[in-house]
């Protein structure tokens, strides 16, 4: 499914987030990425879902070199990759149904997309996906009124509706109640098994990773520290992986950028 050869990502010419990485992921595989905060996991995911390009190296998706793609062809490949984000990345003011159906935007024409905001197209699809994640009754609720765990389920439903070949889940449970975390991880695994999808997940919790994934990759300083079957991961591996890094709770919060005061003849702007 994926083949990465010497892939690096450097930010601002200085910060090496991913360093000369080689990685192969087969179709249908389930693997967990673990590692300390700042190891480059999110950056790797954003390269895998074609949001940011590598600084160097080649990234093959399904044996296709994606580096030169743009426009429609790039969007078509993106459609085949679904992502679930740590912060859900839903549009708070939209109804749940629209957030779920936004997984279809890659397939719909712009007219259909606009029409759907007035009268939801394929609402049955959204309902089905929400049933899969256990909250069908929230179909027409405003997304921002849902709890964190429910919003994460909506984000998963969006990925289901997109019907991709790969699901990338970037710490999908780190902003969720720990009691619910295991449930959501299991849900993602079951769904990807049912629909035969490749699943790659970043996990903060080593226990969850070892308990549910056959293949574990430890990432540290942008490099692969180990790449082993779950059964072969020892405490020493983990000690090396997390050496010198305190496990932190609560990562970066999304900064809802505040509006700068707007200049006008008589400035008076409700924010």
């Amino acid at each position: 499914m994926y083949q990465l050869n010497q892939v690096s990502k450097v930010f601002g010419g200085r910060t090496i987030a991913v360093d000369d990485l080689d990685l192969k992921v087969r179709r249908g595989e389930k693997l967990a990425l673990i590692g300390p905060s700042g190891a480059g996991k999110t950056t790797l995911f954003r390269m895998l879902n074609l949001t940011i390009p590598p600084t160097s190296g080649t990234l093959l998706f399904d044996a296709l070199n994606v580096s030169s793609l743009h426009g429609r062809r790039l969007r078509e490949v993106r459609r085949r990759i679904g992502t679930v984000y740590q912060q859900h990345n839903l549009v708070p003011r939209l109804q749940v149904v629209h957030n779920v159906l936004s997984g279809r935007l890659g397939a719909w024409s712009i007219w259909r997309s606009v029409r759907s905001l007035i009268r939801p197209q394929e609402a049955d699809l959204a309902y089905e996906a929400l049933s899969q994640v256990g909250i069908p009754e929230k179909l027409y609720d405003r997304t921002e009124t849902l709890s964190g765990g429910q919003q994460q389920r909506v984000a998963i439903a969006r990925a289901l509706v997109q019907n991709p070949e790969v699901i990338l889940a970037d710490e999908p449970v780190s902003s969720v109640d720990p009691a619910l975390a295991a449930g959501i991880v299991k849900l993602l695994i079951e769904l990807s098994e049912t629909y035969r999808k490749t699943l790659i997940m970043n996990l903060h919790s080593v226990d969850l990773a070892l308990a549910h994934f056959p293949r574990i990759i430890g990432l540290r300083d942008g490099k692969i520290s180990f790449d082993l079957p779950a059964a072969e991961v020892t405490d020493e591996h983990l000690a090396v992986l997390y050496a010198g890094s305190q496990t932190e709770i609560g990562e970066e919060v999304p900064s809802l950028a505040e509006l700068r005061p707007v200049r006008s003849c008589q400035p008076r702007l409700t924010t």
């Binding site: 949001t51 003011r93 936004s102």
Partner: protein
């Protein structure tokens, strides 16, 4: 964090404040500018109180009372009042129609910067150049539109299309397009980019990202600012009458030219009621929108 020699032991626990000379320098510059302007603009408050000024002001104020409420005058005003409202509405509509597309082009996070363009524009200098050019052109157009006051625009459009409300509509449309476009672009640039990134990752086109991610997030601010501009437009369309662009201002200009201050005071009162009415109306609309958001 760099540690400096502690000068005040009391603040040891606090991070040191960086002090700089800029505030001082700017304060001095400001005072100098102010003093200079005071002289150059020939501000002479006493002029208001000398014999000539007192007489004129008295004539003006005394002439206002009693206000002209005769039916023969009021019956003239129905049409201009309606015209003023229509000019302000149509002008705002034109301003949105021009300002919104230009505002989108002038939004750097849409045209060439940030997460929505990083992959698309990687290793393609011509595409970057093209996007940057359209961005700069849109910004330049918006800035030209709004630096020329609506009064001057009206003056030019009256020459171009003749007297009447239409040049007023065009003047407000163009001048306000400049302001709306600029403000829209700032609002769009400051939405949370997370959802946009997620939409893009599903394979959504840029238009779809605008419709599903950008607009829903920016809509309350966009609507509220547009309504506010509409209030401004009511005020402005009163002035535009002075250069022959229709509306209540035209009547105001006639009455002033004829030194009929009793009519002027009536017109000003009507204008006040209109602006207050529009103000109340848009405040309600704003509350409705923003209130819904807080659910």
């Amino acid at each position: 964090m760099p540690s400096y020699a502690p000068s005040a032991p009391a603040s040891l626990a606090l991070p040191r404040r960086h002090s700089s000379y800029f505030p001082v320098v700017f304060s001095v510059l400001f005072l100098l500018t102010f003093a200079g302007s005071y002289r150059l603009a020939q501000v002479q408050p006493l002029l208001l109180f000398d014999a000539e000024g007192r007489r004129n002001i008295w004539k003006f104020v005394a002439g206002m009372f009693p206000p002209d409420l005769s039916w023969s005058f009021l019956s003239l005003l129905g049409r201009p009042i309606l015209e003023t409202i229509q000019i302000s509405i149509m002008g705002t509509v034109v301003a949105v129609a021009i300002g919104f597309p230009l505002g989108l082009l002038a939004t750097s996070s849409l045209t060439f910067k940030g997460i929505l363009n990083e992959r698309e524009l990687a290793n393609s200098r011509p595409r970057v150049l093209l996007r940057k050019t359209s961005y700069l052109l849109a910004r330049a157009a918006l800035s030209l539109f709004r630096t020329i006051p609506e009064f001057i625009w009206a003056f030019m459009f009256v020459r171009a299309v003749g007297l009447g409300p239409f040049p007023g509509v065009l003047a407000i449309g163009i001048a306000y397009a400049g302001m709306l476009g600029k403000v829209y672009s700032e609002m769009l640039e400051h939405v949370n980019p997370g959802p946009l990134e997620a939409l893009q990752a599903t394979g959504a086109s840029k238009l779809a990202i605008i419709v599903y991610g950008l607009m829903p997030q920016a809509l309350p601010n966009v609507v509220s600012y547009t309504l506010y501009r509409w209030e401004c437009a009511v005020r402005a369309s009163a002035i535009l009458g002075f250069v022959g662009a229709g509306g209540i201002g035209q009547q105001l200009e006639i009455s002033m030219r004829m030194f009929d201050f009793s009519q002027v005071i009536t017109l000003v009162a009507i204008l006040f009621v209109m602006v207050a009415g529009v103000d109340a109306l848009s405040a309600r609309a704003r509350r409705a929108i923003l209130g819904r958001q807080r659910v």
